[in-house]
């Protein structure tokens, strides 16, 4: 395994009175595609929200390249280089694509690097360039997803977290989105991917982690997961 970039030790977190993550231990490798799979309602989205600081850690610790994240505010976590592309995109509906992308670069003050990143995002997701002046609330599902990912990339972080990027999209659009994700990974970005549909990422992910009831129940590679049909059947209903 590559050197670790993100590390969780016994992390517990949740919402008012209900603990969702119940002692999660987890390591994501630098430059790798790490996938978290598992059934609905077992804490996958909460895991990402906890890392980005939206949900507070009640016990345990989270660190990025050895630096503690769990004591930071969400805006400080972003400043450390963690990008969270949330489930359902959460675009700013009244803003244009361009303004959404610019919000992604909110913490970057040098105009030069913002322009450079914008160029890169437009190269990776050319559709956004064509529609840059369209208001985000009027985009189709696939365009919204692309805008969400592009907005995340504008932050210029080194650790990208994607929450179910295939959710609610037509299969052909899902393929396009995953092509982009795999491109990013080959360009050397560290990616943490939450996905309900394990088959889609099995052969590409460097490691797969199964989240069950707020804890990691199994960790391994895609091929190993295929060799354990009972896991696939029990957790993912495939």
């Amino acid at each position: 395994m590559a050197e670790p970039i993100l590390q969780l030790k016994g992390v517990k977190s949740g919402y008012a009175g209900r603990l969702v993550l119940q002692g999660a231990d987890f390591v994501a490798g630098k430059g790798e595609l790490t996938a978290v799979i598992g059934p609905n309602g077992h804490g996958k989205s909460t895991l990402l929200k906890t890392i980005s600081g939206i949900v507070r850690v009640s016990e345990g610790e989270i660190s990025l390249k050895g630096k503690r994240l769990d004591t930071l505010r969400p805006d400080q976590v972003v400043a450390e280089g963690v990008i969270h592309v949330p489930q359902g995109d959460l675009l700013f509906p009244g803003m244009t694509i361009y303004e959404n992308l610019m919000m992604g670069a909110y913490l970057t003050r040098e105009a030069g690097s913002v322009a450079e990143r914008l160029e890169r995002v437009f190269t990776l997701l050319p559709k956004l360039k064509d529609r840059r002046n369209q208001v985000a609330g009027t985009l189709s599902g696939g365009e919204r997803r692309m805008c969400g990912i592009g907005r995340g990339l504008m932050a210029g972080g080194e650790f990208l977290m994607l929450d179910e990027p295939s959710l609610g999209l037509a299969p052909i659009v899902i393929d396009q989105i995953y092509e982009v994700i795999f491109d990013l990974r080959h360009a050397g970005m560290s990616i943490l991917l939450v996905e309900e549909n394990a088959e889609r990422i099995m052969d590409q992910a460097d490691s797969i982690h199964l989240l069950d009831n707020g804890r990691f129940a199994w960790t391994g590679k895609g091929a190993e997961l295929m060799a354990r049909p009972e896991i696939v059947e029990a957790y993912l209903g495939a």
């Binding site: 980005s52 939206i54 805006d75 972003v78 700013f92 803003m95 919000m103 909110y106 913490l107 999209l169």
Partner: protein
Amino acid sequence: MDVVIQIIASGLTLGAMYAVATVGLSLVYGSLNMLNMAHGALLTLGGYMCYAAITHLGFHPIFGLVAAALVCALAGLAIYVFATLPLLRAENFETNIFIATIGIGAVIESLMLKSFGPYPIPQPLAVSGSVVIGNVHIPLQNIMILLTALVAMAAVALLLQKTRAGRAIRATSMSRDAAQLMGVRVGQIYAQVLALSGGLAAISGVMISSIATLTPVMGGDPMLKAFIICIVAGLGNVYGAVLAAIVLGLLEAATQYVLGVRWSFATLLLLVILVLIWRPYGLFGRQQVVRL
């Protein structure tokens, strides 16, 4: 024809004053989901501060207005630090802050009563003279109010549309979580919005008291109307609020002329009821449609 000019002139003046009062209320609701019941008291505070700065401290009227805006911006900031911030950490924020700001408003109004007494005081920030259009005399005071309001609105629009801070305010009002994920420190945004809203309340209070007079309870009526305008426009929609304020100002002026002053408030209320039956989310309110 003269009547129409008269109605348009007073309607625009009313609308301009309401617009400035409403924008602050709407901004705060849009970004924090906070109904600031102390907004009317901030208006009153602004009116008295301008008076005190000009009469007691000998400020030039323009600086009197600026001083009033600064004091009220600080008061808005104080509301953030002492009421909003602690209540945000607990549950039921929207109900709690609603009640808390009623209390803050009462405290501010009582302070004004104690310091300046219950009797009406004229606002020294006034210009005399008038312009004649047709056979109608339009006081320069009204024109000054309209211009001040236009400048204030233009400044707010510029801030929201063109600056980094303004973009962050809009982003926070559209999606707080997403704004945080972009690195926006939402606490700072809330503080900025409350300070801005306080400053706008002061400007509005000075304008209103320059046409009426200063009394400790002068904020109540404009705040009620600002709420009506907010609801008609759709809570939290700033640009809709400006438009609705001007339309309602014109409507109020027309009602006062045609039916008499006592009907003007009833007409406004009737209009709110009709709007809420027809479009419960307000004329320009967000009706969220999510496409997958």
